[in-house]
């Protein structure tokens, strides 16, 4: 059985008196450890699909199974537990908590799991993403790229099964975006963490081993690649 099974998923929103069909029946299976990009024009349903996979929303129809757990009919508390334990999020605009330092932002996600030595673990994760010495800086004192690295550390520190990244490079310059992607590739390869991105960015698509294209709420294309389209930098694994 696939790590993530999405079957016949539809999502409808009501905007005033109008019903908006964000997803019109999506069927996708994703295996554990995949590095997948979901592409498509604005309004194609990428973020909606990511929200459904991330238990931030529930489908109007269809089922989603994550690691053998059916998500569609769960209570809000149960969905919160799944997010807490199994899913890491990386957002386009970093979304760090501004009153916490870099280390505390990472430590916060660990504290929710009552992990021991969460401060030490947070410091280690910040070192892994190249933020040695910046642990005590608040988000306002970090560049966009550094903030996104903190967000990656926050998402990965708890060793989730799945990382969902919504346009993770959209607010970064191409060099910083590339280094952030390299970091995620490294995490994917080293830890076997499953990554799913939503993106418009051709560079992100190039890094993906699988590219699912959505259009008008449906899967238009699903392309698997044997290797990444972007050559890894020297010294990378």
């Amino acid at each position: 059985m696939a790590f993530l099974e999405i079957k016949g998923v539809q999502k409808m929103y009501r905007q005033g008196k109008q019903e908006v069909h964000a997803l019109r029946g999506v069927d996708v299976e994703i295996e554990s450890g995949e590095f997948t990009a979901i592409a498509g024009p604005s309004g194609s349903g990428k973020t909606t699909l990511l929200n459904l996979i991330g238990c931030l929303d529930t489908p109007s129809q269809g089922t989603i199974r994550l690691a053998d757990r059916e998500l569609s009919q769960r209570s809000r508390d149960e969905l919160a537990d799944i997010r807490r334990e199994r899913i890491g999020f990386i957002f386009q605009s970093y979304n760090l908590i501004p009153v916490l330092t870099a280390r505390e932002n990472v430590e916060f996600s660990l504290s929710l799991l009552s992990r021991k030595e969460s401060a030490r673990r947070a410091t280690e994760m910040l070192a892994v993403v190249g933020l040695n010495g910046m642990e005590n800086r608040k988000p306002g004192e970090l560049s966009g790229g550094q903030q996104q690295r903190v967000a990656i550390a926050r998402a990965l520190a708890k060793e989730p099964d799945l990382v969902l990244a919504d346009e993770p490079t959209a607010n970064l310059d191409s060099e910083t975006g590339k280094s952030v992607l390299e970091l995620m590739v490294e995490m994917n390869e080293r830890r076997g963490t499953t990554f799913i991105f939503s993106t418009h960015d051709p560079m992100v698509m190039a890094y993906a081993r699988r590219l699912i294209t959505l259009r008008d709420g449906r899967v238009e294309a699903d392309e698997r690649r044997d290797s990444r389209a972007v050559p890894r930098q020297a010294g990378d694994s």
């Binding site: 931030l56 508390d77 807490r84 908590i97 916490l100 505390e104 996600s109 929710l112 926050r154």
Partner: protein
């Protein structure tokens, strides 16, 4: 939980000006609550002291049936001091007792007459029971002499002074008209404005003869040992009278000054309503702060929910912030109240220039003083924090129910 406390603490200082304004409002409300309680306690305490020390003693003894008819100051319900005093003073816990003959009279000066309360006292015993004679300008009247002490306010009103002669007109026990010419030998300037305003004191033996009382007193004021509750003292005296076969009614000062007790309770209730209104305004400020905080941080709430925080944990976070506001405000309010109250208790506020002698049911003289009530500090602090929780709960719940998928995209 530790992390939520840390986050709540940091959030409190995110918008310092707003937090400080909210804290200040609530702190002032708490301070006002404590000070109003202090002043009420002071007014009541001093009022009680002045009633007990200058009018009633802790316990009063009358002939049966006197109390229900006390407004008319009846002379036909009297007891003999020889019958009462030996019994009362033999009771364990009684320190002193003094007979008084109280009657209504009109004080005539020239063509003018003023209604007064005439109090005939035993100059030997009365100072042991009550303190009027310790607050004299001049001296107390002597037994057998046609002398009087009048209240200082009354003397000022009628432009009388020591050495002047006044005429009291009244009715005797047998309802005959009687006029007494008395020389003023002292002015009573006491902390009890009732005494100063309308009391005239004269020797008991002179009044007894003039009113045909045949050695009868209408009231016996009794003082008890410190620490002995007046109700317990009164009960002991009742038992002593039963054993001695004396038909008398024994009242505590609370019973004989029931109007004052009722007034102080009504006044306390209305003042606390006022304080309640002030606190409500302060609590609206807390609600406003939490609500604005929630509105400003909708995206952050979405992020925290994405990280796996449950709705009840988000509510807890906002309640922790409200607790912080409550703790800071109550600490500040209590500290300010303690500082102001120290002055009120030790020095008091002299209001004579504004109000003269305060005479709105609280016989407290010219100075308003505070009182210490440790319980109200604890009660106010607890009420402040609990009120903050109440004020924060609904906006916190509203924030916790925000849809993370929507808020994150804002």
């Amino acid at each position: 939980m530790r992390f939520l406390v840390k986050l709540a603490t940091r959030n409190l200082w995110r918008n310092r000006r707003r937090t400080l304004l909210t804290v200040s409002g609530l702190a002032l409300g708490i301070m006002w609550l404590i000070l109003v309680d202090s002043l009420l306690g002071g007014l009541t305490g001093k009022g009680i002291q002045n009633i007990v020390d200058f009018e009633t003693g802790e316990v009063q003894v009358h002939a049966s049936g006197y109390f229900s008819d006390r407004e008319s100051l009846p002379l036909d319900r009297a007891l003999s001091p020889d019958q009462v005093l030996p019994t009362v003073t033999s009771v364990d816990g009684v320190t002193s007792a003094a007979p008084r003959l109280i009657f209504g009279a009109r004080l005539a000066v020239g063509w003018e007459e003023f209604p007064v309360i005439a109090v005939a006292v035993d100059p030997g015993r009365d100072p042991q029971a009550l303190r009027v004679m310790q607050h004299l300008e001049g001296r107390s009247p002597s037994l057998g002499a046609y002398e009087a002490v009048i209240g200082s306010s009354l003397s000022e009103l009628l432009d009388l002074t020591v050495g002047d002669v006044i005429t009291l007109t009244t009715r005797t026990r047998l309802e005959a008209m009687q006029a007494l010419d008395l020389t003023i030998v002292g002015l009573a300037r006491t902390p009890n404005p009732n005494v100063n305003a309308n009391h005239v004191y004269m020797p008991l033996d002179v009044a007894d003869a003039a009113l045909a009382m045949e050695q009868g007193a209408t009231e016996f004021v009794v003082r008890l040992e410190p620490g002995l509750r007046e109700a317990d003292g009164a009960e002991r005296i009742r038992q002593a009278f039963r054993q001695a076969g004396v038909d008398a009614e024994v009242l505590t000062w609370r019973e004989s000054a029931a109007e004052f007790v009722a007034l102080s309770q009504t006044s306390a209730a209305s003042d606390m309503l006022l304080v309640g209104a002030i606190l409500v305004i302060a609590i609206v400020g807390v609600t406003n702060t939490v609500l604005l905080g929630a509105l400003e941080r909708t995206k952050e709430i979405g992020i925290m929910k994405a990280m796996g925080l449950k709705e009840r944990e988000i509510v807890r976070l906002f309640l922790l912030e409200a607790t912080g506001i409550g703790l800071i405000a109550t600490s500040l309010g209590a500290a300010l109240a303690a500082a102001v109250n120290l002055y009120l208790v030790e020095v008091g506020v002299d209001v004579s220039a504004i109000l003269g002698e305060i005479d709105f049911g609280f016989p407290i003289g010219t100075t308003i003083i505070g009182s210490w009530n440790g319980a109200v500090f604890i009660w106010a602090a607890a009420a402040g924090v609990v009120a903050c929780w109440g004020a924060a709960y609904l906006p916190a719940r509203r924030a916790a129910r925000l849809d993370p998928a929507t808020t994150i995209r804002r």
